[in-house]
Point group: C2
Chain length 322, copies 2
């Protein structure tokens, strides 16, 4: 069995994952923004022993531990190079955690871990290549090629949200203008909903805003499902932008499958079918079958399960030993 840890901006989750890739026990704690990384990793170590205690297993029963973390990670050194979300720079994750947990420890970007989780036991199981696109606060991605995470030279691949699709367009947090993330994230959907509600003050969309507070993915989709013309128009626009990036990924990579994850992926076919229709029309090569486009299956557990299985699934991984 293995242990997977998902370090997020607000929450850290740690789970013991059994041989059949099911979660046997799980604990979570608040990341606590601004705490020294040593404190956070000390809590991670306690979580590791907690998930073992809960099930009666010992550290010796564990084959490897994996940590997923937002940002750019050096898989070979086991370090966070830079993470905007947790405000970490040059943090020696593996070295620090190994002081408390003498075990093989692997690290990778959280979106890569989620993509690996989906590949191992979720939507993209059995595919030769897949890209998992996470539509959330930003647009994240993980690329699985030939059964391994594609991290690229310098470990810095998979910033798929930072392809420019509208050159000179909306300013992005990365400094460029017009990144896919600025048009296809939930943040972007909410921004466009604000504009649409203002433009159509008599719409259900405008009413939703007044009645139920700020927009989020859920209340926007609910308005559309009630056939509010403003909400439908908004989603058309949103689907267009989501599709633009997916078409780009297909034209360049041609993966066997694109998996759509993130909060709004729970909208299922309502989200998926219009996107597939757009992509079908837009791809460069219409003479070969369209890569499969589907919804993620594992939700939040994808990242934990992927992290647990980093050992053996990183193309460039070097076992850092203990």
């Amino acid at each position: 069995m293995r242990i997977g840890v998902d370090i997020g901006g607000t929450k850290v989750s740690c789970a013991l994952v059994g041989e059949n890739k099911t979660i046997l026990s799980k604990v979570s704690f608040d990341t606590g923004g601004g705490r020294p990384y040593t404190d956070v990793l000390h809590d991670v170590a306690n979580s590791v022993y907690s998930v073992l205690d809960q099930t009666g297993y010992r550290l010796d029963d564990v084959e490897a531990i994996g940590l997923g973390c937002p940002g750019i990670l050096d898989q070979q050194k086991g370090e966070v190079i830079y993470s905007n979300n947790i405000a970490w720079e040059n943090v020696p994750l593996v070295k620090t955690l190994q002081k408390y947990v003498p075990k093989e420890i692997y690290v990778d970007n959280d979106a890569n871990c989620a993509a690996l989780g989906e590949y191992l036991c979720g939507a993209s199981q059995g595919t030769s290549s897949s890209i998992t696109v996470t539509l959330g606060t930003g647009v994240g991605g993980g690329i699985i090629l030939g059964g391994s995470i594609h991290s690229g030279f310098n470990s810095a691949a998979n910033a798929i949200g930072h392809m420019v699709i509208v050159s000179g367009g909306m300013p992005c947090t990365c400094g460029r203008k017009g990144c896919w993330e600025s048009y296809a994230s939930i943040t972007a959907l909410v921004r466009m909903a604000e504009e649409m509600a203002e433009q159509f003050p008599d719409s259900l969309l405008a009413e939703v805003k007044k009645r139920s507070g700020p927009f989020n993915g859920k209340n926007i989709f609910n308005a559309a499902r009630q056939n509010d013309p403003a909400a439908l128009k908004l989603l058309d626009k949103y689907y267009y932008f989501v599709s633009e990036g997916i078409i780009d990924l297909i034209n360049v990579f041609q993966p066997q499958m694109i998996v759509i994850g993130g909060g709004i992926s729970s909208e299922g076919d309502y989200l998926l079918l219009p996107i597939i229709a757009n992509v079908k029309k837009g791809v460069y090569c219409k003479q070969v079958p369209l890569p499969q486009i589907t919804i993620a299956k594992l939700n939040n557990d994808a990242g934990i399960i992927g992290a647990a299985y980093l050992k053996g699934y990183q193309a460039t991984a070097v076992n850092p030993g203990i």
Copy 2:
């Protein structure tokens, strides 16, 4: 030794390539637009025997033959699925050529072959991953990952010119609007030069157009090298668009190297250095070293040498036998 064939829209070149990847003999003929594919392949067969005759070798001395061809190819079936340039659809390349040349024959997209050539004995030799970007009539690309051509599922990867960078922008031949190709190809540079010459009728750029006929890469660059403000402004704009796509490729793939090929790559550092400066400012992850960006080394021979070495360098290749 091996034989490489580069089938282009206007010309077909065939060469015998020695063990040290040098060209021992070479012949070319006009493709002859609109001819039946069987005629073209019959001429390819004659070329194969010509390059052997010229050097005194026999077909038995040849390990494998490779064909590079524009368009989408099915490497496993040895077929052209669709090639816009030569107006071929579902052409059984391998099966047809093997009637005349009973040998192992491999096929791939011409830009993939060029990328492989640069990897084997040109600019990207020894890299773990590289993308060769060809700035020509269109924008082509070949992706080498872990020493093999990345063809993607369905063999349709590497349409890197068809990433949208200006959503809703200039119409592209592929049907989308705003593809990178519509801003970064020589065709796009010439289009922008026409506009710039009209806007600045007293510029050297406008004079060049009057004096030396239609624009091409060379006369535009010459005007800029003479510090014509209009030409310099034009190239600034062109470099910006070229850089936008290169940044996208780096953010998504993070290859060890980006190789810039195509006619204007002969401009060398004059072209390269401003692009590198733009890319440096634009990439998502500034905490890791920038992938190397360099100029292609082999020019037109890259495609032939790459084609000759397809055997063993296609990730999904199946030996079609004879």
